[in-house]
Symmetry: C2
Subunit: 299 residues, 2 copies
């Protein structure tokens, strides 16, 4: 089955202590869509400007991503610029130029509205909801978010949360949103806001799922070298949704393995700037790393 | 088989944001020995003063810990006082009174010197080595440490490391000791210093083993409520060594499960002040929680 992914499609200029890379292909939808594409058909919703390089469109196409929902508008592509500190854990935004994103009003092509799996990748919650409203009867809707929306669009986010099956956020966002330091009270509050499936990302420590079936502790693949963690969270949730959409037997049966697959795709993402590494990865390499991770965690 | 454990035997006064508990039974040897006692015979080496409460001796005895190597000297028992911040991750030492520990010169009873498993729980590395030197032919020797010894006794620690099979430390200590931020280069340097088995503790995120058999990612049991994390690391390594000593088939076959058992005993430790919770736990409860943790991590 197909997964519909809406989010940002951006150009990212990323500085790390060791290198500087201007205008890489980035954005939550780009990372999530490529990650999901390892497992099955992906329909992407986004917007780019006139300056969006043709080679990036070709990259999407190489991964068989349906681009009918990708608008091309007059103006500039959303441009984000950020810098990482030495340990790659802290980053700061140097520049955000919204460009064509400022007036983005996603209208789904008719062929998109019946996708059973919907990933509202990180983007303003009002836009996430606008897309959701156009869907007919999605089976499983998951949203990702970021601290920015907790700060400036909390009311929209709370409204959206009521309509979600699953919600993905990192541990500091969970603390900020719930005012709870501890995992269990934070999860309890998050479920009360709507979603039955809550996934808390913990970076290199993996992630935790809380669902009607209880908790699942999902490991992260231990990386020899982190080149650029930008997009790792988007890759995680994209890979997870792609795997879920392509698997038989329902969400509860598959979500644990789906998270492990997402975790592995995210590990590849961290090994290159932007999508440079993920773009070159094969499904066989993903499967191999899942096997490795299985062996690393067996007891 | 038995495990010999040397370390500190102390009175701990622990302040948390919610409570204050003076003169609890504490010390690395106390925590490690009780943790190991769930699995088999334990011989403890330590020193206490005249003020050491009889009820704490009875606690050791209740767990069948061999106390022939516990010296009782004139003077005061080692007293540590510390305070935890709200999130229980940061603690600061308020007071350290060495008492009888200042002149502690552990002499092993003859019955102790042939223990096949030796745990040098956290204590000055020169004392750890002094005990090790008295052992006949131990099969598997593991040491734990803390940042204090990296700061004031690095030469002793480096000397000790050459004689160890296994070394346990937390992630910030690993960074400090190796000057490496990343896991793999840190592990490489640690192995070069001697031990074939290196375990890096990551608190509530679990731990990582690097051994001739490769990596193992060991999960932590997710706790509803952390009352007092003091001694969790000692309980982890104590439980691990106790399980190893009681299991057939060699270290490589058993060490992963041993770490999971250690992790579970440590989880109980965090649920009460000092040893209050661990003291009340049964082997059946430990087994039950290992089963739970197995289910929480299966995919």
């Amino acid at each position: 089955m197909s997964v519909l992914i809406v989010g940002s499609t951006a150009l990212d200029s990323i500085k790390t202590p060791k290198a500087e890379n201007p205008r890489l292909l980035g954005g939550s939808a780009s990372h999530a869509a490529v990650a999901a594409s390892f497992f099955g058909p992906v329909k992407m919703v986004g917007v780019v400007g006139e300056d969006f390089p043709k080679r990036y469109v070709q990259l999407y196409e190489r991964h068989s991503i349906d681009l009918e929902g990708l608008q091309r508008l007059q103006g500039k592509t959303f441009h984000w610029s950020g810098e990482y500190e030495l340990n790659m854990n802290n980053r700061r935004t140097l520049l955000t130029e919204l460009g064509v994103f400022e007036t983005f009003n996603p209208q789904l092509p008719a062929s998109y509205t019946s996708s059973p799996f919907v990933l509202l990748a990180n983007i303003a919650p009002s836009l996430q909801e606008h897309v959701l409203t156009q869907m007919r009867k999605p089976q499983f809707v998951v949203a990702d978010t970021m601290d920015l929306w907790l700060n400036i669009a909390m009311a929209d986010l709370l409204k959206l949360l009521k309509r979600l099956d699953g919600f993905v956020l990192n541990d500091s966002e969970a603390k900020q949103l719930t005012s709870e330091d501890d995992l269990f009270p934070a999860l309890k509050k998050l479920h009360k806001l709507g979603p039955k499936y809550v996934i808390i990302k913990q970076g290199s420590h993996g992630s935790i799922l809380s669902s009607p079936q209880g908790l699942f502790i999902c490991p992260a693949y231990p990386l020899k070298k982190v080149v650029d963690p930008t997009g790792a969270g988007d890759s995680f949730v994209g890979g997870m949704m792609g795997y879920l959409a392509s698997s038989k037997g329902g969400v509860d049966k598959n979500i644990r393995r789906a998270m492990v697959y997402g975790s592995v795709v995210a590990s590849f993402c961290c090994e290159g700037f932007g999508l440079q590494r993920t773009d070159k990865v094969t499904r066989a390499q993903v499967d191999e790393r899942v096997k490795e991770l299985t062996a690393l965690t067996k007891f």
